[in-house]
């Protein structure tokens, strides 16, 4: 599903004008990105959590050349689906 289709569906469901929904969606994504980049976790009930996790630095050895390479630590966004969503997804199996 593309962003346009998503906007159409939302606009249909809550009977907002399309442009407003587009604006709202843009701002929400902006807010989400801003908050996540500040290192905050986001909880959305019945959907899932966005968490920032730190991956520790690691030392890897190339098996052939025997060169040791130090990879720096890294911050990553992880999404964990909520229990309710998982249940809904696996309902059909």
């Amino acid at each position: 599903m593309t962003q346009k289709e998503l906007i159409d569906i939302i606009a249909k469901n809550i009977q907002f004008p399309r442009e407003e929904v587009e604006k709202l969606l843009w701002t929400t994504s902006f807010i989400l990105i801003r908050e996540l980049s500040e290192g905050k976790n986001i909880e959305i009930p019945d959907f899932g959590n966005f968490e920032i996790k730190k991956r520790e630095e690691k030392l890897l050895v190339h098996p052939v050349t025997k060169k040791r390479v130090l990879f720096p630590p890294k911050l990553e966004v992880q999404f964990k689906q909520s229990y309710a969503l998982a249940k809904k997804l696996n309902k059909f199996f």
Binding site: I9, E43, L59, V69, L75
Partner: protein
């Protein structure tokens, strides 16, 4: 990273701040947004949100998991999972605090450190060097006495090595982070402090490290000593190799004419002593001569060709393939009539077809007679009585009654001449 968690309510607050709308509207939008996401994911679709990321449903089949404590297997049933892959923008923004760091190759820098920093303090640490030699001799004695204890010692040594590596890596990190320290915010400084603390905790008593380092240095110097004598003879060898490189080319040049000569000799011997090859080459040559005859305006070729054909009657069957091509060439080239069998006067009731039947065997070939007498006959159907008609001597291949192609060609010509009028 931090433990700050944002609810949906606080998100709504932020949204209301950004876009001046009602709180109710914003809440509705949020609900609808996530409901739409959920329904799309439940349908198995992938949803992309610009600048944020893509949500995707991944199915996983049933798989086993072994619990190592109980030694029991669990089978996890197949299930679906929502996977979120962040967009590049989000990824970069989140990783901003560590964005200046890049993967580093360690071994290159390690050597530099060893050579620069650790060689000068060797002299005051000569005591430790002596100690190291003593320990070594002791170890050898122990090894001779009891192998198991030595193995345990070895294990210890092995365990110590990674410790050293860790130290090095942490030192490097320190260096890495010292460079951009001024640029980066306070957070990073905190991280730095933590790193320093860790180092202090990890650092083992100095005597062990030094002895270890000395051993390493000793090993390295030993290696270097070994390498140098090896390296000296390698230079002349290289020179020899360089000079050797063109020599195989020379040999090749020497062999090339020989190989060519052998091939030519073999070909010639095949031509003379192996009959199929000989015949094939002869046929090829014949085709060439035929072409030459046709291309040059040789009026005699019509007279010459039948003789050739008569001589080589035995080979006609073999040359059937070539004959087809030569026939086509015969058809295509304009015919010249220089020699004639006889001249006959047209009597009432006699026709060209009858003449052709008498002289060529088949009435269809009257077209050639007509061609030969074009200057005297206005139209083949209307010939005045008493006109002398020359019957031309034709190529035997052209009037081959057994060959359907000849007949077809004659019929084509017939149509052409009769249609003309």
């Amino acid at each position: 990273m931090s433990d700050v968690r944002l609810n949906i309510e606080s998100l709504v607050d932020l949204l209301v701040e950004e876009v001046q709308t009602n709180r109710r509207e914003a809440e509705e939008f949020f609900k609808a947004f996530f409901a739409a996401l959920e329904s799309a994911l439940l349908d198995g679709e992938t949803v992309t949100i610009k600048n944020f990321g893509t949500f995707q449903v991944v199915r996983r089949g049933p798989h086993r998991i072994l619990n190592f404590q109980n030694r029991r297997e669990f089978i996890i049933p197949r299930r679906c999972k929502v996977i979120f892959t962040p967009d590049e923008i989000l990824r970069d923004l989140v990783n901003k605090p560590f964005s200046y760091l890049e993967p580093v190759e360690l071994d290159v820098e390690d050597k530099d450190e060893n050579f620069v920093s650790e060689e000068p303090p060797l002299e005051p640490l000569s005591i430790f060097n002596e100690q190291a030699t003593e320990i070594k001799s002791l170890l050898e004695e122990i090894k001779n006495l009891s192998p198991p204890s030595y193995s345990s010692l070895q294990n210890e040594a092995v365990e110590n090595v990674p410790m050293k590596e860790k130290e090095e890596s942490s030192e490097q990190k320190k260096e890495d982070e010292n460079i951009p320290e001024e640029i980066i915010e306070e957070k990073n400084e905190e991280i730095l402090v933590s790193y320093n603390n860790e180092e202090e905790e990890i650092v083992p008593p100095p005597s062990i490290i030094n002895s270890k380092n000395e051993e390493d240095n000793f090993d390295e110097s030993y290696k270097n000593e070994n390498l140098e004598p090896l390296g000296i003879p390698s230079r002349p060898f290289k020179g020899n190799n360089l000079s050797d490189i063109p020599s195989p080319r020379k040999r090749r040049h020497f062999w090339l004419p020989l190989v060519l000569f052998i091939i030519i000799v073999g070909g010639v011997s095949l031509y003379y002593f192996y009959s199929p090859v000989n015949e094939y080459v002869n046929t090829l040559l014949k085709i060439k001569t035929d072409k030459n005859l046709i291309s040059g305006e040789n009026k005699n070729f019509i007279t010459e060709q039948p003789f050739v054909a008569k001589d080589s009657l035995g080979e006609v069957s073999k040359q059937s393939a070539n004959e087809v091509d030569s026939l086509q060439i015969l058809f295509d080239t304009p015919r010249y009539y220089s020699e004639f069998i006889t001249t006959e006067k047209i009597i009432e009731g006699s026709r060209l077809a009858g003449l052709s039947r008498r002289y060529y065997g088949v009435p269809v070939f009257w077209v050639y007679i007509y061609e030969a007498n074009r200057d005297r006959i206005a139209h083949p159907d209307n010939i005045p009585v008493g006109t002398p008609i020359r019957v031309p001597k034709l190529d035997s291949r052209l009037i081959d009654t057994s060959n359907p192609r000849c007949l077809e060609k004659a019929k084509e010509l017939e149509k052409l001449y009769l249609g003309k009028k």
